[in-house]
């Protein structure tokens, strides 16, 4: 097996997700190589060796400075054609998804996405992914090589293996149409956070809070956890036009209703519930449920979280 891993970087650091995927590739075995594209990124290349790559291709070019997908497709195409990689892995991101799909079209190669695991089974590479909102899991594969895969963010943790990598500079030829789109302004922080539907951590308050004036409790905890706060006075809303939220952590404060329809039950998602009614249906869905007074527990928890994060 000869694998190429697409490494992403932001503001001078390699992205954790890419390193995690790199580690997974190393665990799968065979030759593992990585590619790093950008401007002024050479010094990051050596890092990749520590996380599982035996060789890192680097293209350092002003034309690759902006995180745009299409020039990267050109670079990867020639790399894969020359290097004969049978597998190309990406950690999912806005950028890498476009790169992977563009590359799939360019090479006529199969792409599977949203994978939460990658294993060798019966002599072939099998990807595992959730479907239908995590209700069922599907085993997927490829009918030809190279095999392209997008791994769901947060799936693999990076692990330092302590190796080192050969760094090879490449100078990819970029097509005209790939360079037609240009970055005018880059990476502006949004004045509001991402919409609550995309948040990783949500703290939600329900009628048990008493009233909107107590919402500050929920907001403080959300801030401490680095997430978003939501107010759900009507625990019973199950209309399907609203998007379901699929956070990694969902803290339900004073919500009694069964919320399983509004909150996607990701395999990695956790639900913590605090409610004074021991029979509240929400306890059926909470991974960790506490029967108690939220007015006492939530402020204490906020303090503890803050302290832990500061340490």
């Amino acid at each position: 097996m000869k694998t190429l891993v697409f490494l992403e970087h932001h503001e001078g650091k390699l992205q954790q997700d890419s390193l995690g995927v790199l580690g997974k590739a190393a665990a799968l075995g065979g030759e593992v190589e990585a590619v790093l594209l950008g401007e002024g990124v050479e010094q990051l290349a050596a890092e990749a060796g520590k996380f599982g790559a035996s060789r890192v291709y680097v293209a350092d070019d002003v034309l690759l400075a902006a995180p745009l997908p299409q020039p990267r497709v050109d670079a990867l195409e020639s790399l894969v054609n020359d290097g004969g990689h049978d597998t190309v892995l990406f950690a999912a991101s806005v950028l890498s998804a476009d790169v992977a799909a563009g590359l799939a079209a360019r090479l006529g190669a199969g792409l599977n996405w949203d994978l939460t695991d990658l294993v060798e089974e019966d002599g072939r590479l099998v990807g595992k992914r959730p479907a239908l909102g995590d209700a069922v899991y599907v085993d997927v594969g490829w009918t030809s090589e190279p095999r392209l895969a997008l791994i769901r963010s947060g799936t693999f943790e990076p692990a330092e293996t302590g190796g080192s990598a050969e760094v090879e500079k490449i100078e990819p030829r970029l097509q005209d149409f790939s360079l037609a789109a240009r970055m005018v302004e880059q990476a502006h922080e949004e004045s509001e956070g991402p919409s609550i539907e995309d948040a990783d951590v949500i703290v939600a308050g329900g009628r048990g809070l008493g009233g909107p004036e107590n919402f500050a409790l929920v907001e403080e905890l959300a801030k401490a956890l680095g997430g978003d706060a939501g107010w759900y006075p009507y625990a019973a809303q199950v209309g399907q036009t609203g998007k379901t939220v699929s956070p990694k952590l969902y803290v339900a404060v004073g919500i009694s209703g069964a919320i399983q329809h509004k909150v996607g039950m990701q395999s990695s998602g956790l639900i913590v519930a605090i409610n004074k009614d021991p029979n509240a249906p929400i306890f059926e869905y909470a991974d960790f449920g506490v029967v108690g007074d939220l007015h006492e527990i939530v402020p204490k928890l906020t303090e503890l979280v803050r302290a832990r994060k500061a340490a």
């Binding site: 806005v94 792409l111 599907v138 009918t143 302004e185 990476a187 960790f288």
Partner: protein, 259 residues
């Protein structure tokens, strides 16, 4: 200005979707509807056309014959035409095959702007446009939450994990819009009544010059092996607060690496 919108016919209401244990693919035998995310792309196309004062919005779709009914919603909203690629040989197409077919249909149309919605809510993939843009050899802007057009160029505000970028591309271009970009209009009664009369063309792979081996399962490079149950969630814990609940929650969060 000619604007093409790539739209998909997807099975309806989430609660009633199921995977067919035989084919291990989404059971598409029931009624379908216009993919909700594509409705935003249709709305954006209509806005572009109306702002430029003239032009045409054509809906391009790959799907079964009954997809035409779902596409009528776009016509009712104000789109001008539908081109449906419907061919048995195209059933079961993956990204490689679908992008090939759509690219052929879009070449035929020669649009200035090709719009996609954020994702198809049946396969959850958010990648088709990049494959199509590559085949068409056109510049691409994706995850666009705001789009402006001036002097043969488009500017998109693209949302990423780090905030937003502003990207500019000359026409002809491929744009994928996020659902934050607009509030789609409701079709008017007159629109609904007039939808059926608008041109709806069905073409086959042969009409597009795409071989049967280039589409469908034959043209695909991925496959589905099996279905299984999701991994178990683990035991649920329920405790009563004895004063230490906050500590216990913190401990739990740490154990699960949620902090």
């Amino acid at each position: 200005m000619k604007i093409a919108v790539c739209a998909k016919h997807v099975p309806e209401a989430t609660a009633q979707r199921r995977l067919d244990p035989q084919t291990k693919r989404l059971d598409r035998s029931g009624e379908g509807t216009l993919n909700q995310f594509d409705v935003h792309a249709v709305e954006e196309a209509l806005k572009l056309r109306d702002a430029s004062g003239e032009g045409e919005v054509v809906i391009v779709s790959l799907g079964p014959e009954r997809a035409l009914e779902a596409m009528r919603k776009a016509l009712a909203m104000g789109a001008d035409r539908v081109v449906l690629v419907s061919d048995e040989a195209a059933a079961g197409s993956d990204l490689v095959a679908t992008s090939r077919v759509l690219a052929a249909a879009l070449e035929r149309e020669g649009a200035d702007v090709v719009l996609f919605g954020q994702q198809a809510n049946d396969s959850d993939g958010a990648v088709l446009w990049a494959a199509v843009a590559d085949r068409l050899q056109r510049p691409l802007i994706s995850q666009v939450a705001e789009l402006t057009h001036e002097d043969g160029k488009v500017r998109g505000k693209r949302q990423t994990e780090f905030g937003y970028d502003v990207i500019e591309a000359p026409l002809p271009a491929v744009i994928a819009v996020s659902d934050a970009i607009n509030e789609p209009r409701y079709p008017s009664l007159k629109g609904i009544m007039g939808a059926k009369k608008k041109p709806q063309e069905t073409v086959s792979l042969g009409d597009l010059g795409v071989g049967a081996d280039e589409a469908g399962e034959a043209g695909s490079r991925t496959e589905v092996y099996a279905l299984s149950d999701p991994p178990a969630r683990g035991d649920t814990v329920k405790i009563e607060d004895d004063g230490s609940a906050a500590d216990k929650i913190l401990q739990f969060l740490q154990e699960k690496k949620a902090l």
